[in-house]
Symmetry: C2
Subunit: 345 residues, 2 copies
């Protein structure tokens, strides 16, 4: 009946100003602003008139102007490390989805695991007047973050530090790693190689510790020669097994501290004619999408990076609302797939 009805998703554009809305509604700009922000109580009548005007004109507030006026920019900065990694990708997705529901837009900037880059990234974000910042791990020092947090609220993922406007939470990597190692032990493995992450990451340290926990609990001595350093990239996983084999170090299982290194390890093993899981059992960590599709599918520790991202975003939104944020990162969980096997003899 009414041609307005179908509202064929208005043409992609946006030039209507708050002032125009005010004029159409017959009120002052401030009133419109107040309604938009819930800054003050406005009479029911005007509420409606204005809302109608907004709809009619298809008005959308201009975040740029808002930002300048000292209000919010409705944007949250996100310092990621490598935007293209399967790991961070999932997290970013979680962040984006969650922020979007509240009308916020993420501003992603890469830190490249490089302190100076990270600092630059943070400066860029501040200059852009983001309302808050989410930092995914990274190398920048705690004090700097802390200091920055009195300019803008911050959520840090993967570290432990607190401040009045700084909230952090971490996934329980240590328990996760313990589960992984425990599983191998239960399968009868005793000589379990560990491919660590770069120890500059807190979670790399935690995962190493989880491995130690499990072995110790089982009364298995820690053999330093079985522990080889990696850097969370595929190549380092491959290098690691090569090194073990070249040094004639015996092992029946490998625990790689993330999936990417596990993939590299799998390839390295196969190049040396060692089959997974028949000859060597292999466990990863993270459960990136690809872990489900390797041959054989990889047993790994589920970390639900997506949810972690979503939690971070929720915490940020909470802070922005003035609440005390809390986050409940999903508990680690071992996913049994086909890359491990009970030791035969």
């Amino acid at each position: 009946m009414n041609s307005e009805k179908k509202a064929p998703s208005k043409p992609v554009d946006s030039v209507v100003t708050l002032e125009q809305v005010a004029k159409l509604a017959g009120v002052s700009p401030s009133t419109v602003s107040r309604i938009l922000n819930g800054t003050a109580t406005v009479s029911e009548a005007k509420q409606e008139t204005v809302q109608r005007a907004i709809r009619e004109l298809g008005y959308r507030p201009n975040p740029v102007a808002r930002g300048l006026a000292g209000g919010r920019t409705l944007s949250v900065g996100v310092v990621t490390q490598v935007i293209s990694s399967p790991f961070y990708g999932e997290a970013l997705l979680g962040i984006e989805r969650e922020l979007e529901r509240a009308g916020y837009v993420p501003l992603f900037v890469s830190g490249n695991w490089h302190e100076e880059d990270e600092r630059k990234a943070l400066q860029t974000l501040l200059a852009r007047r983001v309302d808050g910042v989410i930092v995914l791990a990274g190398r920048i020092r705690d004090e700097e973050l802390l200091q920055m947090s009195d300019t803008v609220p911050i959520v840090v993922v993967g570290r432990q530090l607190q401040g009045p406007r700084l909230f952090s939470f971490a996934f329980d990597s240590r328990t996760g790693a313990r589960l992984a190692a425990q599983h191998l032990i239960e399968q009868g493995h005793r000589r379990i190689a560990l491919i660590t992450g770069d120890m500059i990451h807190e979670d790399a340290v935690d995962r190493h510790q989880g491995y130690v926990d499990a072995l110790t609990a089982a009364g298995i001595p820690i053999e330093p020669e079985l522990i080889v350093p990696g850097d969370y990239n595929e190549a380092s996983g491959m290098l690691a097994v090569n090194r073990l084999i070249d040094h004639n170090i015996r092992f029946t299982a490998v625990f790689a501290c993330n999936d990417q290194m596990a993939f590299g390890a799998a390839l390295g093993l196969s190049r040396r004619n060692l089959r997974v899981p028949d000859d060597i059992s292999l466990v990863g960590f993270d459960d990136v999408v690809m872990a489900r599709y390797t041959v054989p599918p990889l047993t790994t520790v589920r970390q639900s990076v997506y949810e972690i991202g979503a939690e971070a975003a929720k915490a940020m939104l909470g802070m922005l609302r003035g609440e005390t944020p809390r986050a409940t990162p999903p508990p680690p969980e071992l996913l049994l797939r086909d890359s491990t096997r009970r030791i035969s003899r």
Copy 2:
């Protein structure tokens, strides 16, 4: 000697305004602005004084204010489809790196392969006053993009359409696919299964066509039963091979239209006790990072998504500079790895 020397990467913050710089330099704000933007010629002397003041104060222009003042926001919107996919991740990296060199920041928004989401994404970007928009494939109609392009310059990747302020370029998928199929044919394969992408993507159509080209050129008839639809995700690759096998369709090789489906196919084949490449040869497309690390490593068509992203960004920067953009997407290239084998009998 001079404590200024070390410049311990100034504290993360930014509150200095252009006005303060002007005052310190003893000139008017407009002059400072002119120097910053090269809008007009300024005397050498003032140039230097101002530059020094800028350095001294650690001044950084406020992009938000710039945006409002009708100037540029120094941000470029990017409509991606799934930010977490290994494919788009690489492209985004290329875009980010390239933009950063010019002082621009990307604003990533996901389209989720959903027309309405894409429209919303575009609106969000416009509302944020981005200086330009890069669209990676997507479903929004050409006319809409064209119309939008007189509000803001646009670069579209993976489609062919032209406009005064709209530039598009596409990777040569057809040739790439032909190379892949040709390779299998040269290895003696005749019954080559094809797992297509969702035909809503232009490149899926092109890759299908490249397959047809190669077979036709070799005088091999196209068998519809060998062509099974996929959707570019791992799961569909697995489903596809299952379907082929369940229907008792004979084939000695599989060409999956992207790597992710190839991974799924590899797993599906292994579940049916078919080995790659001994029993079945497998080729993918894209060369995502993981293709190098599967067991066996995947023969695939290199697309250098990173470079494509970088090219898109360069083209955008060109338009922003008022130049006529041009892009030279890297030519397709077949990467021989270990997932194919000459047919024995």
